[in-house]
Symmetry: C2
Subunit: 130 residues, 2 copies
Amino acid sequence: MNLKKTKTREAILSILSNSKFPLTADEIFEKIKSNGNFTLSTIYRSLFSFEIAGIIKKEVSTDKKSVYSLNTPMDKHVLVCVKCHKKVIISGCPYHEANKKISHETGFQIIDHNTEIYGICPECLKKGEK
Amino acid sequence: MNLKKTKTREAILSILSNSKFPLTADEIFEKIKSNGNFTLSTIYRSLFSFEIAGIIKKEVSTDKKSVYSLNTPMDKHVLVCVKCHKKVIISGCPYHEANKKISHETGFQIIDHNTEIYGICPECLKKGEK
DNA sequence: GTACTTGCAAAGAGTTTGCACATTA
DNA sequence: TAATGTGCAAACTCTTTGCAAGTAC
């Protein structure tokens, strides 16, 4: 299972590492299609290979599309502003302690979790005050 | 926008209120189809009406299906067993304290959040030990 | 040369929609 | 009867797959 370096794959990884937020396959496609002869299915397949290899991670967004991002395990918590849709990544896991408690109470051995937190960012709060 | 009471809708609400866990449209369909002449598209449309009316809520599960449940705002935290796919609802919000801290650190006014926690349930843990 | 990648087109799953008919209030 | 709801089939979106040809190592 050796990943070969190809133009498509380099382009995909470059896009993902330059993006602050997870992207859909189609968004990636839109960004690179002008640079060469790319296909959506190839992008899906590349993303799949990367995922298996542990290089990227795939998540499901609220509109039911798959979104992909480099696998930086700590960036799993996203604050989403309901006004301006800005996303802020929270580093570290704020729920670590709470999860220990859940584990204790339910007997579940907790492996992972995903969280989206909705709120209003400081900028939009200020605007609202005016 | 007046919701009319029909056989389909009563059946759907009955199923949802008797279910401890969110259900997909198809799961609802499977459960009620023997009781009458129901259609998947009608179920989707009824679910949509209920959602607009605020009676139920729709969420996206990790396998990208929409799941529906009665709109009880407190049951937002689900423990999912990665082995047997059982879901356990955690009542109350275990992250309340942590969110206060996030709010303080980021300036966000937090409104809401959704969480899925993945783990292995006690039963599957036992099986694994054997 | 062998294994891995790709493009293309077609298939697949879940969901939505148009239309004519049926039902509720 | 006026407004809503339904069944059916077809359309739609995102994603996956089969196959033959191409490319990296």
